[in-house]
């Protein structure tokens, strides 16, 4: 390889020297002719080198100088490299432009932040939603421009698992939904969405449910009152009497639904921390048990097991309503001869309250939907039993309020266990 590199220049130089020697011998000036020819060869190489240099400096790839031999090949190769680079550059630029156009067209606001929360780039929607100015705001910290404390804390705390909705971060009446997605080396992608409409709709829905239930309650009270008096009338025909009794039952069911709806909307409306105090769970369970036994003819056994005297920090009325709902459910779906068991215990993770029954149970695929409002496993049966369809929704809400979770284990035909789990921080030593 190295040898073959030498062959071509050696041959051409030798040929030139041979010609020079020949002419020199003919003319008699051998030394002069040979030096002249060698100088000419050197000059030619230097000239071509100079032209290539000038061409490279000019930055014009298309105007390449023509030269033969090795120099021609060199020029050709350089030109090819250059063209390839240009092509890639053009493609990259196009790609970046397309990316920019597409991100700018995203209806959600997108802001790219560096690890110090300084703005690297943002799209048009973000500029509109957050009143950012391009390019002046690039390099400024985002929390200097979007200053609502909820957002600043969200950004600073670094817990980006859940989004945050902030009112008045941009335009005063606007509700903005912020979600930070970390990427790369500590960089952050901030997504902003206008959720004013959803927030208003949600508020309207809550107001509507609360108002409607409230308005329904007074007429219902009147109707149930008259039905009660009428059904006690002894001069009535038996057929009419039965109908009146049925009417009364339905009116009572409706009252229960309205009451549960009101309870739910109150739970939703109560912002911040409820009025919390230590609740003696054992005493609460005993009260619930005697209430239940007093209200209905007991066809089942109700057992109670209190393993810990620890008290639970929470809102007494809400906890009462949640546990009562669990117990009512158990009573409703347990056929006669069954057993209902309530248990309150604790371990290293937290406190647990469970209500198990030997009732009809729920199919596994229906468990996730149980806490939905008005969801019924078997519509015919549960209506007959007089449930409102809101009980477990109330339980779920109360538990959310108390940072608790609801676990449901059930086997069809064998019974179900509903377990409320409360964090350790909510447990208090016995009084």
């Amino acid at each position: 390889m190295t040898a073959s590199v030498w062959w071509s220049p050696l041959l051409s130089t030798l040929a030139a020297v041979a010609v020079a020697v020949l002419i020199g011998l003919l003319t008699g000036h051998l030394a002069v002719t040979v030096s002249l020819v060698l100088a000419g060869l050197l000059m030619r190489q230097l000239y071509l080198l100079q032209r290539v240099l000038l061409w490279l400096r000019s930055d014009r790839a298309d105007r390449m100088p023509d030269a033969g031999g090795a120099w021609g090949d060199v020029i050709g190769l350089i030109a090819r490299l250059f063209r390839r680079k240009q092509y890639h550059k053009r493609r990259m630029r196009q790609l970046v432009r397309e990316l920019r156009h597409s991100t700018a067209a995203i209806p959600d606001g997108v802001v790219m932040l560096n690890p110090a929360a300084e703005i690297l780039w943002f799209n048009r929607s973000a500029a509109e939603l957050l009143n950012l100015r391009s390019p002046g705001d690039v390099g400024l910290r985002i929390d200097n421009l979007v200053r609502r404390p909820e957002f600043v804390n969200y950004l600073r705390d670094g817990d980006y698992r859940s989004p945050v909705v902030v009112q008045g971060a941009g335009i005063p009446e606007q509700h903005l939904h912020f979600q930070v997605v970390p990427y790369g080396a500590g960089q952050l992608l901030l997504m902003v969405r206008d959720v004013t409409r959803q927030v208003r709709l949600e508020a309207m829905r809550k107001d509507f449910v609360a108002n409607a239930s409230h308005e329904l309650r007074s007429p219902l009270t009147v109707i149930s009152g008259y039905l009660e008096t009428l059904s006690q009338e002894e001069t009535l025909e038996p057929v009419l009497h039965d109908q009146l009794l049925e009417m009364r039952r339905q009116a009572l069911r409706m009252t229960a639904i309205v009451q549960d709806l009101l309870e739910l909307s109150r739970l939703e409306a109560e912002g911040g921390s409820p009025n919390e105090e230590p609740v003696d769970v054992g005493a609460l369970l005993a009260r619930l048990r005697s209430d239940l036994l007093a209200r209905e003819v007991p066809q089942w056994q109700v057992q109670m097991q209190v393993d810990t005297a620890d008290r639970l920090r929470g809102e007494p009325a809400q906890l009462h309503s949640a546990f009562a709902n669990l117990l009512d459910n158990a009573a409703k779906y347990t056929p006669s001869g069954g057993t209902i068991k309530m248990r309150w215990w604790r371990d290293a993770q937290g406190g647990y309250l469970s209500v198990s029954d030997t009732g009809i149970g729920v199919a596994a695929e229906q468990i996730p939907r149980l806490t939905e409002r008005f969801y019924r496993v078997d519509p015919g049966r549960s209506r007959a039993s007089g449930g409102s369809g809101l009980g477990l929704a109330i339980v779920k809400h109360v538990l959310q309020r108390h940072e608790g979770t609801l676990q449901i284990v059930s086997e069809e035909g064998r019974g179900s266990t509903f377990t409320c789990r409360f964090p350790l921080a909510r447990l208090l030593p016995p009084a």
Binding site: N144, L145, V152, P172
Partner: protein, 242 residues
């Protein structure tokens, strides 16, 4: 822009100190902004609990003022800043005083709001107060924006809005007097409303002061007690020269 301004320091820690102070000031501003908006909402919607919560949160503003003040003293003592940096520290110390006063006015509005929530609301639902409130809120917001961007043009524009606030204040005052003369039973409420608008007008003044500090910080020119027109001419001619 200011990233370039601040990057000439050989000590990176110094830059970080200055940046951190600014971020803290703006966080304090953001909190005050929220207090103002909550106080006004409490008043207009008759939300007594919200008004009380505004009043009880004011201690946070005070705490922030103290902490930023300490940090500024520390920078002055240990870094001995000069020129633009010195102006920034001085302007910051003044700015937080005004922000703290705005916080106090919000506390007052919150208290009045929780008191008024128990009485009957007027038929116009505080339309004028609401409007004045919006103007003042926008003014505070723009002031803080100008502070974040070191934008002296916006600061000047915002400072000029103070005149509108003053005019609206006058007109609401006259309106309140009319109400009181028409119906003596409305005197109590009208007096309370007077306090609210007075507070809002004061907040406008404080925002204007902060705008002046921003102009001082950016241009190194003290424009207190001078007419805004002459300041504007000065700034424009300076911009033309640059």
């Amino acid at each position: 822009m200011e990233a370039a301004d601040l990057s000439h320091h050989t000590s990176r820690r110094f830059n970080e100190d200055l940046e951190r102070v600014r971020t803290k000031v703006l966080a304090m501003g953001g909190f005050v902004e929220q207090q103002l908006s909550h106080a006004l909402t409490a008043l207009v919607e008759g939300d007594s609990a919200l008004g009380k919560s505004v009043a009880s949160q004011d201690y946070k503003v005070n705490g922030m003022e103290v902490s930023i003040d300490e940090e500024c003293s520390r920078i002055l003592a240990t870094r001995a800043p000069a020129a633009g940096d010195l102006r920034m520290v001085v302007a910051t110390i003044k700015t937080i005083t005004d922000l703290e006063r705005i916080g106090d006015e919000c506390e007052r509005i919150g208290n009045i709001a929780s008191r008024l929530a128990n009485t009957e609301r007027p038929e116009d639902h505080y339309r004028e107060v609401k409007h004045l409130g919006r103007t003042v809120q926008l003014m505070v917001h723009n002031t803080l924006d100008a502070c974040a961007r070191l934008d002296s043009t916006l600061a000047l524009k915002t400072a000029r809005n103070d005149r509108i606030v003053d005019e609206e204040y006058e007109s609401i005052q006259r309106q309140c007097i009319t109400f009181m003369m028409e119906d003596p039973r409305a005197i109590r409420r009208a007096l309370e409303v007077m306090w609210v608008v007075r507070s809002l007008e004061r907040i406008g003044d404080h925002a204007k002061n902060i705008c002046e500090y921003i102009i001082y910080m950016v241009h190194g020119k003290d424009i207190r007690h001078t007419s805004l027109e002459s300041v504007e001419q000065e700034i424009n001619s300076r911009a033309a020269r640059e």
